[in-house]
Symmetry: C2
Subunit: 336 residues, 2 copies
């Protein structure tokens, strides 16, 4: 049987379990040019909320009744395409389900390093790593000595961004939602400073922790933190727009900016990006990230929820502040 | 005598004549390395409002009691520097006054084409032209066939931006504040379409007039027009942030954006710039603009207010919608 989560309704306001419908169906057999993949891990990412909204974005709009879209890691069970062998480890947009039948070109075959946990290929050695790497280096363009501020700094992407900025000689300041996250990013990850945005005035805290101003603000959240960071932006400062977590669950999000005039007179640049645009350069990033990992320069956490049945509830962890590090669902977790 | 407008108080809210104080004083003699310039024309620009606010920006903060900062065109009356001859035509930040004594390096000597009106060198062949040229071409990077939307399209910069975009093969849509401006930009300047932002729903109008979406929004105003343009922005769309006229006279400006998520998923780029950064490349622009002028491809209007005494009131025309084209003060206008 193939267990699946279907998109039952487009969430309006806060995402909830009722937006999805559990379904079980036969496992299909692949036809010519197709592969059958058994999903082992499902990546949960804030952008899933955008997909679920049914909006046309950088991917086609999702339709109601479709299997919920998601990036997975899996094993090829059967292949009808010579380019992909049964037993191969693959990733792709294979959805919230046990099994997927897709064209062979829709999966990417991984050359997994057996010394690394397999889950790395959905995290630090997957699109999470690419997002942090290219977002910071290619969009933000940090220079040694600059100050980099990161929001959702204990999240999968933010925690890597701060460390890559540190490796590049930047002062790194992370915004987090509680004291234990603050300790993790400063004591374990090497951020120079952490700000608990729930505990103090964010603009004052950024001003205090960034005495030379903000050269790059890597934004995962939007909202008042975006405005506060803009208020401390240096001349030729860059805002890397990676995500807007604080906005996704609002039915009518309004971003208020009190500091746009500062952005203007300081010749600011705010640029959004999508990691899919960098897939052709993925090996450049993976080679560098693997090197940093071997040298002990990058730390990360993985938060694994066991069992596909918990995927809707687990996704909520990205929006309620309870997530630390990379959030994954082990698809057949409870059965194992 | 040197007649001068001093900055008497930092405007809070709408700029008004009381923010300035009239003063008359002796004309000073230049010392070694200095020049004495008689100002003939004063350029009035929205950025004057930023300067008057006393904020630190891309120039040092203005102090109360200083001569109001402004770009002028003038004639060198006396020179104590071998690089600048008496009689030379110069521009510089020489202020709201009849005469300025400054270091010779603070003025730029113009090689004026006698076939051109002298006022061109504060407009289409001055910083206004540079702003339109580099803002659109260097920051916006238009490609033939793209759609370019411009706000304050009957203003000095906006009217040039639309024409340069048209020359580059773009569909051009201008936002203006009344029907006569709409006729001017479409009938005389060759914009494909004009939208009167006071007469209709701006977002609906942009959607209607930009059936292929917005590739570049050249913003002079901020506020709800910025948000509306963002709401129609195409994938990889660019917002060139040149000015925020609608915000400058607010004592606590708040820019509301309802369409930032679209900007995110469409990988938008919003970039501010300052024309001063392009002075080293000015000749490249002037050569091209002069060529377009000779070939009749660029039209413009100049709005000349006669008499330095009217400068504070004239500046208000930039913010109340009554200005068309380049706004200048003829400094000794009424005496001539």
């Amino acid at each position: 049987m193939n267990r699946r989560w279907l998109l039952a309704e487009f969430p309006r306001g806060m995402l909830c379990a009722e937006n999805f419908r559990w379904s079980e169906s036969e496992v299909l057999a692949p036809t010519d040019g197709q592969v059958l993949v058994r999903n082992t891990y499902l990546s949960l990412d804030p952008t899933n909320r955008i997909w679920a909204s049914g909006a046309q974005s950088y991917l086609p709009a999702m339709q109601l009744g479709e299997v919920m879209r998601g990036v997975t890691l899996g094993e090829v069970v059967a292949s009808r395409d010579a380019r992909v062998q049964a037993g191969a480890c693959v990733t792709g947009l294979l959805g919230w389900q046990d099994y997927a039948v897709v064209r062979a070109s829709a999966v990417q075959v991984l050359q997994c390093d057996p010394r690394r946990p397999i889950t790395d290929y959905l995290g630090v050695m997957g699109s999470t790593g690419l997002t942090a790497y290219f977002g910071l280096l290619d969009v933000g363009i940090p220079r040694s000595g600059e100050t980099v501020v990161v929001s959702a700094a204990a999240g999968a992407v933010g925690s890597l961004v701060g460390q890559i900025a540190r490796i590049h000689g930047c002062r790194t300041v992370g915004l987090v939602g509680n004291a234990s996250k603050a300790r993790w990013i400063t004591e374990d990850l090497g951020f120079d400073s952490a700000i608990d945005y729930r505990a103090e005035n964010v603009q004052e805290a950024i001003a205090r922790e960034c005495p030379s101003g903000v050269d790059i603000y890597f934004d995962n959240v939007g909202g008042r933190i975006l405005d506060a960071a803009m208020g401390q932006l240096n001349p030729r400062g860059r805002i890397v727009l990676c995500g807007l977590i604080s906005q996704y669950n609002s039915s009518s999000p309004v971003q208020e900016l009190r500091n746009l005039e500062r952005f203007l007179v300081h010749r600011g640049r705010m640029q959004a990006f999508i990691v899919l645009d960098y897939l052709s350069r993925a090996n450049e990033a993976y080679t560098q990230i693997a090197d940093w990992l071997e040298r002990g320069l990058l730390q990360y956490r993985v938060d694994i929820v066991r069992g596909l049945e918990h995927a809707p509830a687990a996704l909520g962890k990205l929006f309620d502040g309870s997530n630390v590090g990379k959030l994954l669902v082990q698809v057949q977790g409870e059965a194992q």
